[in-house]
């Protein structure tokens, strides 16, 4: 690939107590594409996401966004970088004290100079797009899991992010709601053309979304160019992960 990656992880190490969660991890994320970070629970998927967002600092190594290392940045510079990011958190992370409308309007009110009328128009438009109309006065506690994620997505998309990060976007949702989230993902990526990083263990469904799949295993990242490759991996741990998440049916060797 000739183009410059948007996000680069260079020899990133993160240690918690005695556990080396990330061990000299390298990863390139390219513009406009969808990268899926998979792996069993406790393997450091969410940690990787938090490192990219600058919510945690690595013990060593560099994390470059557009070629600039965010690990050494001051808070103000980091905020500038973050303004290109949109995040959908695992539990949607809506502010409990604000209504759906105010939650979605929050980034616009805090980060733009738009008038209240312009904000209302833009927020209502995205609430219509995400099928949330009629719920704008409700509070997060009154919403179902799937609806919360849609509100979270609407909020993240308000400032038209260049990079969207999804932390377990379908965890805790039934198959119907899961498909709905994926459908919205396609729709919104098509519309805004964002680079997507998805942390998920929803194997094999996320394979359909991915341009690049990386699997975290014992602190190491193994990259795969296409979903087929991962199924043919000879690494025992990855074979075990594939087996555990996808079942025997997907292992070509088993099919033969």
């Amino acid at each position: 690939m000739n183009e410059e990656p948007v996000i680069q992880l260079r020899d990133v190490v993160k240690v918690f107590g005695t556990q080396r969660v990330l061990d000299r991890v390298n990863l390139d994320i390219y513009s406009g594409r969808t990268t899926v970070i998979a792996g069993g629970s406790g393997q450091g998927k969410s940690v990787t996401l938090k490192l990219i967002l600058g919510l945690m600092k690595p013990d060593s190594g560099a994390i470059l966004v557009h070629g600039r290392d965010i690990t050494t940045m001051k808070r103000r510079e980091l905020n500038e970088v973050r303004s290109h990011f949109g995040v959908l958190f695992q539990g949607a992370a809506l502010l409990d004290s604000l209504s759906v409308f105010d939650n979605v309007a929050l980034p616009l009110r805090e980060r733009t100079d738009l008038s209240e009328e312009e904000i209302r128009q833009q927020v209502m438009a995205s609430l219509i797009q995400l099928g949330l109309i009629g719920h704008e006065e409700k509070f997060p506690a009154q919403l179902s899991g799937g609806m919360k994620k849609r509100v979270g997505l609407a909020r993240a998309l308000q400032v038209q992010p260049e990079i969207m990060l999804f932390d377990e976007p379908t965890t805790g949702l039934d198959p119907e709601k899961t498909m709905e989230i994926y459908r919205l993902f396609y729709q919104t990526q098509d519309k805004y053309g964002y680079t997507a990083v998805i942390v998920s263990h929803d194997i094999p469904k996320v394979f359909n979304l991915a341009d690049q799949v990386v699997v975290l295993n014992r602190g190491k990242l193994v990259a795969f160019n296409n979903p087929e490759e991962i199924q043919l991996s000879q690494v025992p741990e990855i074979q075990a992960f594939v087996k555990a998440t996808m079942g025997h049916l997907y292992l070509s060797s088993d099919l033969e």
Binding site: L55, N79, F89, A93, L95, L106, E110, R111, V159
Partner: protein, 263 residues
Amino acid sequence: MIGKYLENIGGVTLYYLHDLGRMGVYLLRIWRGGIKRPFRILAMIRQMREIGANSLGVIFFTGAFTGMVLGLQGYYTLRKFGSEGLLGSAVALSLLREMGPVLTALMVTGRAGSAMCAEVGIMRNSEQIDALECMAVDPFPYMLMPKFLATMISLPLLTMIFNVVGIFGGYLVGVKLLGVNPGAYMTGMQQSVVNKDIFMGLVKSLVFGALIVWICTGRGYFVHQIRGAGYGAEGVSRVTTQAVVLSSISILVWDYILTAIML
């Protein structure tokens, strides 16, 4: 054996030093957040309703009964020396200089401090604080500074209400129940209370207000990093208990320090 023991002591010492440093930086960040525009007046007023106005009932009752019991105790003590007339000044001075600021602060810690700690802790655990940071919204001016200012404004006001109610509680018991001369109660109070007494109470309540909001929101803010707190609901409940205990102890310790300095 000894090596391991020393290692443990070192580990615990380092942890507490780190915790103290973290809380110090936290306080500085709150203050820095306070001078950032826009000033969130509405958010602050909303917090004042939570912390101040909603605590009025509790303060009224504790104030009344503290004053009444001071009247009762004071009367029986002063009667031994035949100086029941001094009851007014005894009640007023005890309230203004000690009981008012300390008891108000303890009540606010229990009522509003615990709530603030749990609220911030839940926001941390459910990634709401992370979400704010990711939206490039600094949580310090956005949600912590309004709480800080609201507590600093509410606590002195609540203390003064506590004092006034307490003085009338003492009056009720001393004058109406035990028959102290009403004129003696009021004039005695007016003659013995000087500006310095009121000032002392005010300074105390300001310091206690800062302590409450600093410790309570700070414990909640660092719920994920506090040793032994655990995760989820359990973590928040442990940290809330810790915040209330720590705030209460600090209030009493600082009460002594401030009294020693200002007397």
